[in-house]
């Protein structure tokens, strides 16, 4: 009896396949689903990744589509160029379109130096150690004798990262494969190839900047990135990288003179660029050699005209390179401005002193933790003399140690 019941039940169960329901949620597909983007949890903006996950965290989850990120270059332009390459490489991996404008090197040279993406799905950033649930003897090295109640607490998490992964990791020691690179559509702007127009249309903008702006506008209009075009086909994001704006190779004397003649050329250009960005599905990263610009007010207005602004300060060449406080890092990162888009107040990062380090597989931005005062010389010598203490210690260190009572 039981067998017949079960055999009677079986075919009826087999007849019901999965997903026969014809119910479908009736929502209009208003949300754009573009690969490589996601919605911000804070203000609902569409975000793209900059290619550096720590930088995404600092900017509030990512770079909002329609905004401009200003990077103030470090002295030798090594790390700002690296971030620009990360940004473009992220665009290649997410299949966005790219636009690169450069004056010093040909854009093709920069494209060939893009870092290789690490495409397996293993998260490179190890999550915080979960509290170990079994006190095995393997923790005998870590086991604390007196403070054993704290031994399972997580260590201070220095690196900035959010819990969900957004963005990819890149291996700096290798360059991207040509096949991957050529799959992405890239537009170039190399100033010597564009005949300089006499600036008839925009009197306050230089010919080079107006040519660049026209070129960007043409790409946006022609390839359908403008928000005004009808959403018939699938949309994509345009990533714009502008390298070294303001340097004399753009015919701008902003960096060369203390009182530049063309003081409003770059600011006019940035104003036009931001207007273009707001009305299109694109994102711009601009690098400016700010250490050469002598006028602080001008730098301030350039910063205000861009939405996000960070400044890189590398330790190379300065006396901080040998300072023991900074020995693990390559430079400091200052967040100058974070925008408030469609909200009243912006989400500033709560840590003001940040330092960055370029490792082979990751560009990390960490909170700067000063090491504890353990040595006896440090407790007597003030912080400012710390750098000199290393040099002087061998000369008068023995004397100091005797006097340190």
């Amino acid at each position: 009896m039981a067998a017949s019941v079960s055999s009677a039940c079986k075919p009826s169960m087999a007849r019901i396949p999965v997903n026969t329901t014809s119910f479908q949620k009736r929502t209009k597909n208003k949300l754009l689903s573009i690969p490589g983007t996601r919605l911000s949890v804070q203000n609902g903006q569409l975000l793209v990744s900059t290619g550096v996950t720590s930088l995404d965290y600092l900017l509030g989850g990512g770079l909002a589509v329609g905004t401009v990120l200003l990077i103030e270059e470090d002295r030798y332009d090594s790390y700002s160029r690296m971030i620009l390459k990360y940004f473009l490489a992220e665009g290649v991996v997410c299949r966005h379109e790219l636009f690169l404008a450069a004056v010093q090197d040909h854009p093709n040279d920069i494209f060939q130096e893009l870092p290789d993406p690490i495409l397996d799905d293993v998260a490179m950033h190890k999550p915080v150690d979960q509290p170990r649930l079994s006190c095995e003897p393997q923790d005998s090295i870590d086991a604390m004798k007196i403070a054993w109640r704290y031994q399972n607490l997580p260590k201070v998490q220095n690196a900035l990262a959010s819990t969900s992964r957004f963005g990819h990791y890149y291996d700096v020691s290798k360059t991207m494969e040509p096949e991957i690179r050529q799959a992405a559509k890239c537009h170039h702007f190399y100033l010597p190839e564009h005949p300089s127009h006499s600036s008839a249309t925009h009197s306050s903008m230089l010919g080079s900047y107006s040519a660049l702006l026209k070129s960007i506008e043409e790409v946006i209009r022609r390839d359908g990135f403008s928000v005004a075009t009808t959403m018939t086909k699938s949309r994509n994001i345009l990533r714009i990288g502008l390298h070294s704006l303001g340097s004399p190779l753009w015919d701008d004397d902003l960096c060369c003179q203390d009182n530049p003649k063309h003081s409003h050329a770059l600011t006019t250009f940035l104003y036009g660029l931001r207007a273009l960005m707001r009305s299109s599905l694109s994102v711009a990263v601009v690098t400016v050699p700010s250490h050469l610009i002598q006028s602080k007010t001008l730098m301030g207005s350039i910063t205000r005209l861009c939405d996000n602004a960070i400044a890189l300060e590398s330790f190379k060449g300065s006396e901080r390179e040998t300072s023991p406080l900074y020995k693990d890092y390559h430079g400091l990162l200052h967040v100058r401005q974070v925008p408030y888009l469609n909200c009243l107040a912006s989400q500033l990062p709560d840590h003001k002193d940040l330092a960055f380090k370029l490792k082979r597989k990751q560009f990390t931005i960490e909170r700067l933790h000063l090491p504890p005062d353990l040595s006896e010389t440090v407790s007597r010598v003030s912080r400012g003399e710390l750098a000199g203490a290393g040099a002087m210690a061998s000369a008068c260190g023995s004397g100091n140690k005797h006097l340190d009572f």
Binding site: S78, P131, C135, R149, N152, P192, S247, C256, K316
Partner: protein
């Protein structure tokens, strides 16, 4: 240039020998120390390497240069006179300031050494910067660098220009040698930017001899051996050290809150609700001997 006494730092030596061939490198000097003799030592090294050297001179006459380079093979030196009439006032000058652009420089340099790379020494870049502006200089340099036909060595007087100009010109340079007078003599700071973005730096104290050899002086502080670490527990009026017996006794001491492994584990993951009780010494209550002082 190796001498018998001192060895120059590797980077300055490389630049002198021309082994690292960047496209453009700048020697910066100031009013406290003129780097002209260092520039002449570069010229001499290049001549000794059998390269054709073109000198575009705005500040030094031909006779003075040839006097300074006595003793080197001057046949390969091509002098372009921009000293007699740099601004073209009398119309006699061979080269004027506003003629400095990539095409004219290539035209100047090309005929003497077709196919091979020539070395162009500009003395000094400050003249061109003052009259043509940094944009023109940077553009010309960029184009010449992209062509790859000329190696340019330029002398720049950094006191004559605003900091931004000097900085933006040095950004286009592959290597920069900044020379200044220091307490120990002339100091040269060499900064080299590699294509990969890495920056190498070095500092060196040097001097230029009469025959234009560059002699480096090794820093005395660098080669001094490190002093042995002082033991802080020595020379004290009380004893801070532990003998072995004392160390053993210290290890054996029972700390007040040391529990067994199970109790530690139970305390570490709270929430299980188990009560783990370990009897203490005080629980051992003897009814007949409550004060624990009978010596039975």
């Amino acid at each position: 240039m190796l001498t018998s006494f001192c060895i120059l730092s590797i980077m300055l030596n490389d630049l002198l020998q021309g082994t690292d061939a960047g496209g453009f490198f700048i020697i910066q000097d100031s009013c406290r120390y003129s780097a002209r003799r260092l520039l002449w030592s570069f010229i001499k090294a290049a001549l000794n390497r059998e390269e054709v050297v073109h000198v575009l001179s705005f500040e030094v006459s031909e006779d003075e240069l040839k006097n300074g380079l006595k003793g080197s093979p001057i046949e390969r030196l091509r002098f372009h006179d921009a000293y007699s009439d740099p601004l073209g006032w009398s119309g006699r000058g061979a080269f004027t300031v506003d003629r400095f652009c990539a095409e004219s420089v290539t035209a100047l340099v090309e005929p003497s050494s077709p196919g091979r790379r020539a070395v162009l020494v500009i003395d000094s870049l400050s003249w061109i910067l003052r009259h043509s502006g940094p944009a023109a200089v940077c553009r010309a340099v960029r184009q010449l660098r992209n062509d790859g036909s000329v190696v340019i060595v330029g002398l720049l007087h950094r006191d004559l220009h605003p900091r931004g100009t000097v900085g933006s010109l040095c950004r286009s340079a592959a290597s920069v040698v900044a020379v200044d007078a220091g307490p120990r003599g002339a100091e040269a700071k060499v900064t080299k930017r590699l294509k990969s973005g890495k920056v190498l730096q070095d500092e060196e104290v040097f001097s230029v001899d009469d025959d234009l050899t560059v002699v480096g002086r090794s820093e005395p502080s660098r080669v001094r051996p490190r002093e042995p670490e002082m033991d802080p527990t020595a020379h004290l009026t009380f004893n801070l050290r532990l003998s072995d017996l004392e160390r053993e006794a210290k290890e054996k001491l029972a700390l007040p809150f040391v529990f067994t492994k199970e109790k530690k584990a139970a305390l570490l993951h709270t929430g299980s609700g188990r009560i783990v009780y370990e009897p203490d010494a005080n629980d051992d209550y003897d009814q007949e001997d409550p004060d624990d002082d009978l010596d039975v």
